[in-house]
Symmetry: C2
Subunit: 295 residues, 2 copies
């Protein structure tokens, strides 16, 4: 008997589809039902064998469901939870894959207040520029991190089930508060995405864009890879975490002002110190070592 008898995936794209495929790989799921905004992706998911059935609606989807993964853009969470709430039974565990957590937690208290023991917010750290169920694969979560932000009202067995499901997917699971989660990801994920989108947008709007891009090489390719990410998803993330993201953006602009001053003053030693500190930290991180800062 598998860990999860019936899994419901709402939003069968890269994230939701890979979750289903990873659980299948682990033999941890019986059958998978898909539900979502539009029919076409569900048909493709069915054809690809990512899901076993397309639910006729939430009543059908939640009938006998053990675990529900909400893998839609965070901007849709409110509407999705409102639609599922009347049909959600105690004991059916609900989790999500939202990249922001304070807004998802707010939506849970607004819409799923009757089932708080069973609703466990989570964030799998496994982005990719590619999106859609065609990009889904069973190994997406191997050795990736999943951050849970459990509610005080959560039942221990509900948290355990979500943790066990992600571990079955190959992920490492940790837990923190929604507030700390959102602050941390504003710095290491949301800001870098905003910066990459901004650079490519700026260059692409120039009259000499073709000339500029024709001279771009490997460094530019890596730096801008996340500018290929899903616009709607990132719009929702930025809006949902605007406060923390604005604070990070302001601090970054202050860093750029310092670099500008060093550059304008021709301060080679100052520039080299910044570059050297960055390289040391980046290489230490990439090697799995502690970050060694200059001070």
């Amino acid at each position: 008997m598998p860990l999860i008898g019936k899994l419901v995936v709402c939003g069968v794209g890269l994230i939701g589809g890979s979750f289903a495929l990873a659980l299948r790989r682990a033999g941890a799921v019986g059958r998978v039902a898909g539900i979502g905004r539009s029919r076409a992706p569900l048909e493709r998911a069915l054809a690809l064998g990512v899901i076993d059935e397309i639910a006729a609606g939430w009543a059908d989807a939640l009938d006998g469901a053990d675990l529900v993964l909400l893998a839609a853009p965070v901007g849709q969470m409110d509407a999705i939870m409102a639609a599922m709430a009347p049909h959600l039974r105690s004991g059916t565990v609900v989790t999500d894959a939202g990249s922001t957590k304070r807004d998802v937690v707010d939506a849970i208290y607004r819409n799923l207040d009757a089932q708080l023991p069973w609703v466990v917010p989570a964030h799998p750290i496994a982005g990719a520029e590619k999106s859609g169920v065609e990009a889904a694969f069973a190994g997406l979560y191997d050795k990736r991190r999943v951050v849970l932000t459990p509610l005080p009202e959560n039942a221990p067995q509900a948290v355990d089930k979500v943790r066990a499901a992600w571990i079955a997917c190959g992920a490492a699971v940790s837990a923190t508060s929604p507030q700390e989660h959102d602050r941390v990801f504003a710095a290491v994920s949301h800001l870098p995405h905003l910066l990459a989108f901004g650079l490519v947008d700026d260059l692409a709007r120039r009259p000499n864009a073709e000339l500029l891009f024709s001279h771009a090489a490997g460094g530019f390719r890596d730096f801008t890879r996340i500018a290929g990410s899903h616009p709607e998803m990132w719009r929702d993330i930025c809006l949902a975490n605007a406060g923390a993201l604005l604070a990070e953006l302001d601090q970054y602009v202050a860093e750029l002002a310092q670099l500008r001053a060093l550059l304008a003053a021709g301060d080679g030693a100052g520039l080299e110190a910044v570059f050297d500190n960055a390289r040391r930290a980046r290489n230490a991180w990439a090697a799995g070592l502690p970050i060694q800062t200059a001070e």
Copy 2:
């Protein structure tokens, strides 16, 4: 009889070493002499078979030389050219691998005025975070672009020899002015490096740096890869191209100010338009298609 009888590489690191190895692979070089600031890298280059001999000095290096590649950080070009000038003979073709070109051209007019027909500035677009001769390999320039910025005084056969050498390395060769070269690379290379160095430096100096980096994932890894680049090399590039880089930095900060305004206003449509334009342009570029901007 090879294209180049005797090659001299000044600064036998990733760039200079790979140039020698690529020419060997093509059977386009007879023997390779190395010269540089410090002895240790030359000894390693000799042991690795990247060079055949270590020159005792410029007189020895330039004796019978057909082609000289200056592959040292651009900040050293002046001193290097001054040292080689007394020993340089007409007909020995000199080129460089500097990432900036106006400053190299200035150094040529200052130091090699007697040999202007034979000195052809160039920039191979093949960066890498790794540096040093140990990282050198024959395929570094395959399908990469090399931009020449020839002098009006250049002899056609000198330009032809440099072009032929790079083509033998597997590269595609184009030509432009030093001014346009430096403007273009400020936008697509120098600015992204500055931005990546700045972000990692900022995060690494925080009290919670370990926590932040422990949550960083693949997007952060790609975005910050160029922050692992060589600090001295990038210090010199930034100083050498400070004017164009400051202009690009200011335009980028203006783009960030627009994004900040959209974020603060909760303008989801505005953010999505920027992200969508960036994704379209980035994906078009990555696919080798024309950049399609929103306007």
